[in-house]
Subunit: 239 residues, 3 copies
């Protein structure tokens, strides 16, 4: 009979790249099986895949993918937002990158793992709910695909759960700076039925940053009013 | 760097109204941002919003909204049922009310917070699953919008998770009294993929009450058969 | 006022059949209420129902239903996959069987409870995620309905969460044996937004078994690489 404790935590499989915070794992497939390739409906030229997912968090990891794709010869094929967060009110993520060779895929996934650890500094998780923030000076493929961010323009993201907090953050963010909505998501619009209101905006870099920082200031006050302080799985870095 | 512990739990934001059990928060927006107003697709005349959400519970809070709207000059604009309950098998809620001024919105949200604490007395949460019950002698806007309840008629609601319990409760409730189905929801019909069967009924007030009380009697026996007693986040009041 | 502790865990309701691991409960309805019967849209001849649901697990219980239906005079009417697993990244289940009399329904549900305890031996749940495996030498109604398995042919099932693990398991399974995909499910395809990649395959019995065992070997290594060992709510039996 199988004994799971005979298996080492130090994974030796060729597909394994690494893990990161928020129950994230990064993997590669060198030459994807022909039948699976067809079923996935991905472009013919991509035989190597980078595969990433986390139980918790979406914007941080999608922003990580955005940077990783810019820095490597890869393309974003799939960005899914499973309803997860391990019992909290939001999403996890499932991201597949295409590459022409497995070294590129591995490089991109390594970058994603590293950036996921960094971006987790703008995730705030209390007993009552959570907040997530992201900013990019120049949106690339992943942010475009996931949130309709205009390419090469500044991108800001804010998310609050329970959803009521997200709506007030969105209102304050839009009032604080001259930015334009690119995505507006609610429990019944665009999410996987998460308990969140999400806003993504574009505009001048300084205005977008200001909108995100305003949302963070307001969101933290509202989240903390619910009676517990958030844990932060990284180091806050937006300022 | 931001230090979340510098932020007081005693929220001073003008949007803050209060909190209630089940990780509920009630907020208002005085004059909603123009761009957000358009994105939300809400009627022109409502510039003030009441915003409410909970991580856990739906019928109790929607019934609270129903009463609050009757007692104030507000209208129900959004009722969403995120898949939540903090790891349990049901829904949270996200409710937006429209008002012509912020005082009316604040009054309605205050009433909702108070009634949410009361209605939580008919929520039963064990290690295995949960039950929720609601009753109104005269359904208003919110119950009509959420569950197709006929306006001004008696309304009864029952919900059981895991879903099998809900179906048997529904069967017994319908056999116990002369009531008519107005909503029937399952993991694949009408819910956000929750593990529940939900039934809402209308009819004569005494019949509707009888159906709900029968469902509660049967549901509790089945839930408790699973090996743990439910916690009740309020004081049971239906009788 | 109702006191829930007055209610016995030893349920005496005629509908009660029993419970099983994974917060599973099995119930029957002898003569389903006329109004409910119509609302459910089930065939006229089935007045007796077997009703089953679990907070956690799908393939094991659907395989249990598959066997139970073969061994009794019942038919599968509903298989739903609520997004559940009590805070983990996958599904629970809600299964309704039709029977012409309640004894048949009770017999089928008893078999399902017993087989659910057995099949739980191929469910692996760690702090980070979970894996589930199933195998049938000859798929019947339930596996056909849920996963499009060809009737009377061998059926293999593998599921990994977070989803990235599932994709690599699927790739390795398909490379390991001459099998054909019958279902491919991801957070946005076929699931209820779970954080899983699921593959179901058919083919020669030995090839299907080989594919499932390969997936288990790979999946366990990847899941354990995330830093915790899985618990198994039964005894592993596939070999």
């Amino acid at each position: 009979m199988i004994n799971v404790h005979d298996i080492s935590m130090n994974c030796q499989l060729t597909e394994f790249v690494g893990t990161a915070v928020l129950d994230s794992i990064g993997l590669v497939i060198g030459g994807v099986d022909e039948q699976l390739h067809k079923q996935m409906g991905i472009p013919e030229k991509y035989r190597a895949l980078g595969v990433f997912s986390s139980r918790t968090g979406a914007a941080g990891q999608i922003t990580a993918a955005d940077e990783a794709v810019k820095m490597t010869n890869t393309e974003v094929l799939i960005i899914d937002l499973p309803r997860d967060t391990k019992g909290w009110g939001g999403h996890g993520n499932y991201i597949v990158l295409g590459a022409e060779n497995v070294e590129e895929a591995r490089h991109a996934i390594s970058l994603m793992l590293e950036l996921t650890n960094k971006n987790a500094g703008e995730l705030y998780i209390s007993e009552a709910g959570h907040l997530e923030f992201a900013y990019s000076a120049s949106a690339g493929q992943a942010l475009h695909k996931a949130f309709q961010a205009p390419m090469h323009q500044a991108f800001g993201f804010l998310c609050g759960s329970p959803a009521a907090i997200g709506l007030v953050m969105a209102d304050r963010a839009l009032k604080s700076a001259d930015v334009e909505i690119v995505s507006y998501m609610t429990p019944s619009i665009g999410t996987s039925h998460s308990n969140e209101v999400i806003l993504a905006v574009t505009g001048d870099a300084s205005a977008v940053k200001e909108a995100v920082l305003t949302a963070r200031e307001i969101g933290l006050q509202l989240l903390i009013s619910m009676g517990s302080y958030p844990e932060i799985p990284g180091i806050p870095f937006l300022e």
